[in-house]
C-alpha cells in the first residue's frame, strides 16, 4: 500500500527534476553563448537588409543607364562609363586648421559639380539642359545608393570577420533608417525621369509665382532673379533656373545682389522645405529666423556671413515634409500650402519692412519642373 501510494510522487519528482535540470542547462548555455546567438540573428538581419540595398542600387544604376541611352541618346553603350562614375570619390579638404575651410569645401564641391556636368554632357548627344540636369540627378542617386551599399557591406563583413558583437548590433539598429533613406532615393528616380516637381521644390514654386511677368536674369550659376513690387516695397526674388533639376547658388546670388548691384535689403526672407518630425503634418508651415537652406553648409555660411556683415535680418518660412516627400513628386498637401505661404510671406514683409524698402526673397530647393 505504501509503495503504491508513493509511486506517483516519485514520478512527479523525476519530471520536476528533469525540467529543473533542463532549464538550468539552458540558462548556462545561454549565458555562455548569448552574444554568439545574437550575432547570428544580427548577421541574418543585416544580410537581408544588404540584399535589399543591392537590389535598390542595381535598379537605380539600370534606370540611369536606360535614361542616358533612351532619352539622352548616347552614341554607344554607357554602362562602363556609368560604372566608373559610380565609384568616383570627392575628397573633402583637411579640417585640422578650420580657417578658410568653407572656401575649400566650396572649391571641391564646385569642381565636382562641374565634373559631373561635363561628364554627362560628353556622354549624351542631347544637349537639352533639362535632360542633362535630370541625367546628373539620376547619376547622383545611383552613386549615393552605391555608396550606401558599399559602406553597409563593409561593416557587415568587418563584423562577421571579427565576430564583433557591438559592430553588428549597432549596424542592425541603424538598418531601418538606412533602408528608409535608400528607399526614398530609389523612389526619387521615378519623379526625376519624367521631370515632375519634387517636394523640395516648394520654395521655387512660390518664388516662380512672384516672378510671373517680370524680367528674369541670371545672377549666379544656375540661378535667376527678378524684380517685382509689393505694397511699395521693391522685391528682389531669386530661385534656381528651372525647369531644370538645379538648386543653384543662392549664397553667391545674394552676395552679388548686395555687393555688386548695391542693393541694401531691409530683410532677407528664405522659403524652403524642412524635414518634419514624426507626428508633424505634411504641408504644415513654420516661421522662424535664420538661413533656411540645407546642403553641405557652404551656401548657408555665405548667406549668414553676408547678412551678418550688413546687419540684415534673416527670416525663414518652412514647409514641413518627410525625406521621402522631399525628393519624390510633390504631394497635394505641400503644393496646396503655397497659397498659405504667400499669405505668410506678405505678412512678414508688411510687419518687418516699410514702404520704400528693398526686400530679398529666396526660394530654396530643387527646381525640377518649376520654370519662372
Amino acid at each position: 500500500m505504501s509503495i503504491v501510494s508513493s509511486m506517483p510522487l516519485q514520478l512527479g519528482s523525476d519530471v520536476n527534476t528533469l525540467l529543473y535540470m533542463t532549464s538550468l542547462g539552458f540558462f548556462i548555455i545561454y549565458g555562455l553563448y548569448a552574444t554568439r546567438i545574437q550575432v547570428y540573428f544580427a548577421l541574418n538581419d543585416i544580410g537581408r537588409g544588404l540584399n535589399k540595398l543591392k537590389v535598390m542600387k542595381d535598379k537605380a544604376r539600370k534606370e540611369a543607364i536606360e535614361y542616358l541611352t533612351n532619352v539622352g541618346k548616347t552614341g554607344s553603350d554607357p554602362t562602363q562609363r556609368v560604372d566608373q562614375f559610380l565609384d568616383y570619390v570627392t575628397i573633402m579638404p583637411v579640417d585640422m586648421d578650420p580657417q578658410g575651410i568653407v572656401g575649400k569645401v566650396d572649391h571641391v564641391v564646385t569642381t565636382n559639380n562641374d565634373r559631373v556636368r561635363a561628364e554627362v554632357a560628353s556622354l549624351i548627344t542631347q544637349n537639352n539642359p533639362v535632360t542633362v540636369s535630370i541625367s546628373e540627378n539620376l547619376l547622383e542617386v545611383a552613386t549615393s545608393l552605391n555608396q550606401i551599399h558599399k559602406v553597409v557591406r563593409h561593416y557587415y563583413l568587418l563584423g562577421k570577420k571579427t565576430n564583433s558583437y557591438f559592430t553588428l548590433v549597432q549596424l542592425q539598429m541603424l538598418m531601418p533608417m538606412i533602408i528608409q533613406e535608400a528607399d526614398a532615393l530609389l523612389n526619387a528616380v521615378d519623379s526625376f525621369k519624367v521631370g515632375q516637381p519634387v517636394g523640395d521644390g516648394i520654395g521655387p514654386v512660390i518664388v516662380s509665382r512672384l516672378m510671373v511677368g517680370a524680367e528674369k536674369r541670371a545672377v549666379a550659376k544656375d540661378t535667376v532673379m527678378a524684380m517685382t513690387e509689393y505694397k511699395g516695397r521693391k522685391l528682389y526674388v531669386l530661385k534656381a533656373d528651372g525647369p531644370m533639376a538645379y538648386v543653384g547658388q543662392p549664397g553667391v546670388a545674394i552676395k552679388k545682389i548686395i555687393e555688386d548691384m548695391g542693393v541694401k535689403p531691409t530683410a532677407i526672407v528664405m522659403i524652403d522645405a524642412a524635414l518634419k518630425l514624426e507626428g508633424e503634418k505634411t504641408g504644415e508651415i513654420a516661421e522662424g529666423v535664420g538661413a533656411a537652406i540645407g546642403g553641405i553648409g557652404v551656401e548657408k555660411f555665405q548667406i549668414e556671413e553676408e547678412a551678418t556683415k550688413n546687419k540684415i535680418p534673416l527670416y525663414a518660412i518652412l514647409v514641413k515634409q518627410s525625406i521621402l516627400e522631399a525628393i519624390t513628386v510633390m504631394r497635394k498637401e505641400i503644393a496646396e500650402a503655397s497659397d498659405k505661404v504667400i499669405q505668410v510671406l506678405n505678412r512678414v514683409i508688411e510687419e518687418k519692412t516699410k514702404e520704400g524698402d528693398d526686400v530679398l526673397v529666396a526660394g530654396i530647393g530643387n527646381t525640377l519642373g518649376v520654370a519662372q
Partner: protein, 68 residues
C-alpha cells in the same frame, strides 16, 4: 527574434496631376500630368473665357479606391 529590417512598404498608388490656371478669370482645370509639363508652361485655352492658361501646380495624390 523580430527583424529590424522593414518590409518594403506597400506603396499607395499616386496619381500626378497638372493644374492649369487662367490668369484672366482664375478658372482652374485639373488634368493628368503629361511628360514635358512644368510649372508656368502654357496650357490649353480657358474653357470659361478662352484666354491661354498656365500650369500653376503639379502634384500627386493617392488614387481613390473604387467603393464596393
Amino acid at each position: 527574434m523580430m527583424s529590424s529590417v522593414p518590409a518594403t512598404d506597400k506603396k499607395s498608388k499616386l496619381l500626378v496631376y497638372s493644374i492649369e490656371e487662367c490668369p484672366a478669370c482664375g478658372q482652374k482645370t485639373k488634368r493628368a500630368f503629361q511628360v514635358g509639363d512644368y510649372i508656368t508652361k502654357e496650357g490649353a485655352k480657358c474653357t470659361k473665357c478662352g484666354n491661354p492658361t498656365r500650369i500653376s501646380l503639379v502634384y500627386a495624390e493617392p488614387a481613390v479606391k473604387p467603393s464596393g
